[in-house]
């Protein structure tokens, strides 16, 4: 076993044993929340685009209470929120197989992505047009890093099996919040 593999095993076991929210960051959902088991007919009713791997935020963020910024690591320091690398996923899923057949099928896809060195091509859900610059870190600085602040724009992610766009993301929606919180309404704050 290489040094890298030792690190991954150790890290994976540590996460399982010490699954606590990061200091200063509230857990996405209340303790004891259990994500529903979805049947084929249920998934047909879900909103949001089909992703290459059926990643369930309600299991990871809701049931397992993984903090948002465990995966979306650069939201507080960069304009980009940060998509988790495949290494982040394989940290747990090298051990965690999944309890049901459908879960196992999806986790196999994660392991294949790692083994074949081909990251999954996620479909972007939250996007603003090119002429707008949305800096995540500026908003997180004001709103905070706990899940409730992420829910302002992204909704109750911890209850969503498949992510869909909950807000219009149009300028009126942005400006409404800026007016309510009495922050800048300068054009060049976002359009530069």
């Amino acid at each position: 076993m290489t040094k890298g593999e030792w690190c991954m095993w150790g890290g994976g076991i540590a996460v399982l044993l010490l699954a606590r929210p990061v200091a200063g960051q509230g857990a996405p959902a209340a303790p004891g929340f259990r994500a529903p088991v979805l049947s084929q007919s249920d998934t047909g009713k879900l909103k949001g685009p089909l992703q290459p791997i059926f990643f369930r935020h309600d299991i990871h963020a809701g049931q397992d209470r993984i903090p948002c910024m465990y995966c979306h690591y650069s939201a507080a320091i960069s304009s980009e929120p940060g998509i988790p690398s495949v290494q982040t996923c394989i940290g747990c899923h090298q051990i965690i197989n999944g309890t049901t057949d459908s879960h196992r099928a999806e986790i196999t896809k994660v392991r294949s992505a790692w083994r074949d060195r081909t990251p999954p091509e996620w479909i972007r859900v939250y996007a603003v047009p090119d002429f707008v610059h949305f800096p995540h870190m500026r908003h997180i600085k004001v709103l905070g890093t706990d899940a409730a602040s992420c829910a302002n724009c992204h909704g109750e992610v911890a209850k969503q099996p498949r992510i869909y766009q909950v807000a219009t993301l149009k300028m009126g929606w942005c400006v409404r919040c800026h007016v309510e919180r009495k922050v800048t309404r300068d054009c060049t704050a976002c359009h530069f």
């Binding site: 650069s74 960069s78 690398s85 091509e121 479909i123």
Partner: protein, 340 residues
Amino acid sequence: MTDPMNRRRFLKILGITGGGAAALSGCGIGPEPTQRLLPYLVAPDDQIPGVATWYATTCRECAAGCGLRARVREGRAVKLEGNPDSPVNRGRLCARGQAGLQGLYNPDRITGPRLRGANGQLAETTWDKAVQLLAQKVADAKGKGIVFVTGHETGAFGDLVDEWMRAVGGRRIAFESFALEALREGNRLAFGTAAVPHYDFAAAKYIVSFGADFMETWLSPVEFQNAFTRAHAFAAGADSSMAKYVYVGPRLSLTGLSADEWIAAAPGTEGLLALAMAQVIVARRLARSPADATRLGASLAAHTPAFGEQDGAMHLPLLHKLVAPSQRIPHTPQFIGSVL
């Protein structure tokens, strides 16, 4: 034409095609094209997406070696700036340094091994084929004369190539676009050391440039520009002894434009003027000569002003006018020049 084009029809067509264009993305009106997000396989330690990382490095576009700061976004260098901590350029960067980024992104850059074909054109080849061919050719030519052309190498790579060339009976040639061999030889003749000196423009009181564009590409232009400004800028009341700057050359370059005086010497005769000036200064003891001034005795004797006049390249009163300021200089004047 079944239907004549009239105003009504024209506007209808315009409306339909215009409406179609507006429905495209970019205006934010219609459906945006699907964007995909590709995560890292393994996230790098020192890069955060969306946040720039700055690396300190050195410019290799000329031999000056100005300090650089490279702005890197997601592992790609996107901008070069001068490093304020470098004593050479002190935070400035010339156009060549800025263009250094082209070496990374210019579509015409060489991206792999190339083989020159029979028609003289470079053709793409693979690394395996290239290395195999190289090994075979070196084995064939061993001892018969092999030349390895590199750039100006100061580190281990130059030593490695030298060692390899020694082993196969070849030699290494360092190619530099701004060759300084003439300068080195001149300094060897004048001062006994075949080296390129460092010129302290900031401390100069009288600068004569014989075609040396020290603010553009000569030796270390960024440093010289900075130092020249210190010598030549108007410091109101602080120091009234502004350096005088004379430019000798056929073309008034960017460097020449800053000169207080321009001597439009015919091309190739700048050297004659320099030697004549030196001869007059040394012969008439207009300045304190260094102890080894006799080293140049023969060259100077051959370049008296009279000789220059014969060639029609010199004007005696002009020469004396140029030499006159050096009489007020207590220490030995430094002459800078380049042989093009």
